[in-house]
Amino acid sequence: MTGRRAPLPLLVPAVLAVGFVTLPLAGLLVRAPWTALPALLTDPALLTALRLSLVCSSGALAASLALGVPLAWVLARTEFRGKPAVRALVLLPLVLPPVVGGVALLLAFGRAGLLGAPLAAVGITLPFTTAGAVMAETFVALPFLVLAVEGALGTLDRQHEEVAATLGAGPLRVFATVTLPLVAPGVAAGAALAWARALGEFGATVTFAGNLPGRTQTLPLAVYLALQDNPDAAVAASLLLLAVCALVLVALRRTWAVRR
């Protein structure tokens, strides 16, 4: 059937789907203040926000990789009671409204929070700091990574790892020298998703980390506030964000291509 054109009953909804997604983006482009765009895009405040966004989302990605890959490995490679519970737990941030996630983070890591109080006692405060923003974004991005990597690990043929073990490599060495390289495409795809999600994060960040230009005001926050008094700037910022996203997705597609 490949090569043959798709049957209408499938083609029509597919086209509708694309249209449904394209139209709003087209709207942004049409509405864009093209003449004022250069000025708007070079607004230092915006660029600061962009820089911060890139920093935070990268930080969130790094954290997600550092925490999520091992977790995915544990979920895929070891057996222990309550595994389903853990898996569900890790995925909850996916469905929790970001704002609620932010509140939850405050209750945990805030000055008066479960862990936050002791931390504050030793002089460590996370809310209102860039670190806090990174945490908030990690909270929402982590599930994507775990999801993708565990999937890749699950479908990975075990015998390479087994042979490596018989060759004298301990579990850790096996993980680093065999498992990771073999699931690289899966990790890359998951990373791209996680990074993108972190880049677009708004609710959790603003609730947990607040909104201070240059410190915790990421691009999405800047967009939201700009909407209040300067819609043009908001649209411009959105386009900027879109451009960045598009780049991410191209990368994402690449890794897909690899996987296919």
Binding site: Q159, E162, V163, A164, A165, T166, L167, G168, A169, L182
Partner: protein, 369 residues
């Protein structure tokens, strides 16, 4: 059978090794596997090469995995390597080389990278590991592809690299699971030759799983026949091929084989028919009667004359084997005859055709089991 190998008795390995290879070495491997599925004891002497053969699902791969310490540790197993009990030790802590059915080379590494992996894991420096790696690739005649990634290697090259990879860390016990299974006839020959050379040079013990009798005969100095997790025969190749103690081995050799009880004139096959043998055994003991298919004559009518054994049945299947075709006859007992394609056509030997078969008593060999 397994009582035959009760840990108390002297190790089969050393015993058998005695009447083939000159020096009697201390056992490198002493393993007892008594699990839900397996029930066997294995002793391998240094330098001894043992072929583990048996039907699908006999447990061959499982045995190798237990010895290598792979998978979840099975209760009821005990593995002693060079005198130290490694039953609880994880794979890296055992000096075992393992080549799975598929070469399973690391696809993201070059041939050299694959061979040096074990050395590096065991702490060798980059330079010395590389040197040793080159050396091994060279010995196995694949030095020229050292820099190719695994997926770019031909099946034959891959299999050689896999061997080099397993041998490089100088394991005490080498486990090969159908090492030539994946190769086509041509490459298989070359690799087998290489394998023989290096196994001869190998000072550790080697356990080799195979489905190919030629491989077993030409590579091993002892053959262990496994069926449903139990050892049914264990001896030097000559003995096993000349007097197969199990129907499966006989089948593997392409022979007719029937289990039964010896009578004064031959063997009462389980299921009824009595086969007349030229030189029968003392009556009343369990035994197996084997007949070469080429020694079975097929007739359309009732055959006249000398052959002492004649019975009839229906052609069940015709298969090609070399220049002869094998005619499987459904009868009691069922029998396989080897005839020429011409005969198949002339006698119209197709499934469902009623025929008579005859076997000369001199062709019936009776072996105790």
């Amino acid at each position: 059978m397994s009582s035959w190998h009760a840990p108390g008795e002297p190790a089969t390995g050393t015993r058998v090794a005695a009447d083939t290879s000159p020096p009697v070495l201390p056992p490198v491997l002493r393993a007892t596997l008594r699990t839900a599925y397996l029930d066997l004891h294995l002793d391998l002497a240094g330098g001894e090469r043992v072929a583990l053969v048996g039907p699908n699902g006999a447990g061959k791969t499982t045995v190798l995995r237990v010895l290598a310490g792979l998978g979840t540790a099975l209760p009821g197993t005990r593995v002693v390597l060079d005198g130290t009990d490694v039953t609880a030790a994880p794979p890296p802590a055992r000096r075992v080389g393992f080549v799975p059915h598929t070469a399973a080379l690391f696809p993201h590494l070059t041939a050299l990278g694959n061979v040096t992996y074990g050395l590096r894991s065991r702490g060798a420096g980059r330079r010395s590991a590389a040197a040793a790696g080159w050396d091994w690739l060279d010995r196995l005649g694949v030095a020229e592809v050292a820099d190719r990634r695994a997926p770019e290697l031909s099946a034959g090259q891959a299999q050689r690299v896999a061997l080099a990879r397993a041998l490089a860390p100088r394991p005490r016990l080498l486990l090969l699971d159908e090492p030539l299974g994946a190769l086509d006839a041509q490459t298989r020959t070359e690799v087998r030759r290489l394998l023989r050379v290096h196994l001869a040079a190998f000072d550790g013990a080697c356990l080799l799983v195979t489905h190919d009798p030629v491989e077993a005969v030409t590579l091993a100095d002892r053959i262990v026949v496994l069926e449903a997790g139990r050892v049914v025969q264990d001896g030097v190749p000559d003995e096993v091929t000349r007097r197969p103690r199990s129907r499966w081995v006989a089948r593997l050799l392409g022979w007719n084989a029937w289990l039964g009880t010896t009578t004064r004139e031959g063997l009462a096959v389980h299921g009824g028919h009595v086969l007349v043998a030229a030189d029968p055994l003392p009556a009343g003991q369990p035994a197996i009667a084997t007949v070469r298919p080429a020694a079975v004559a097929v007739h359309v009518g009732h055959p006249e004359g000398s052959p002492r054994n004649t019975w009839n049945g229906v052609v069940d299947e015709v298969t090609a084997s070399g220049s002869r075709w094998r005619v499987h006859v459904a009868a009691t007992p069922p029998v396989v005859a080897e005839v020429t394609p011409a005969a198949v056509r002339e006698l119209a030997l197709t499934e469902g055709r009623p025929v008579w078969v005859s076997v000369k008593a001199t062709e019936v060999r009776v072996t105790p089991v």
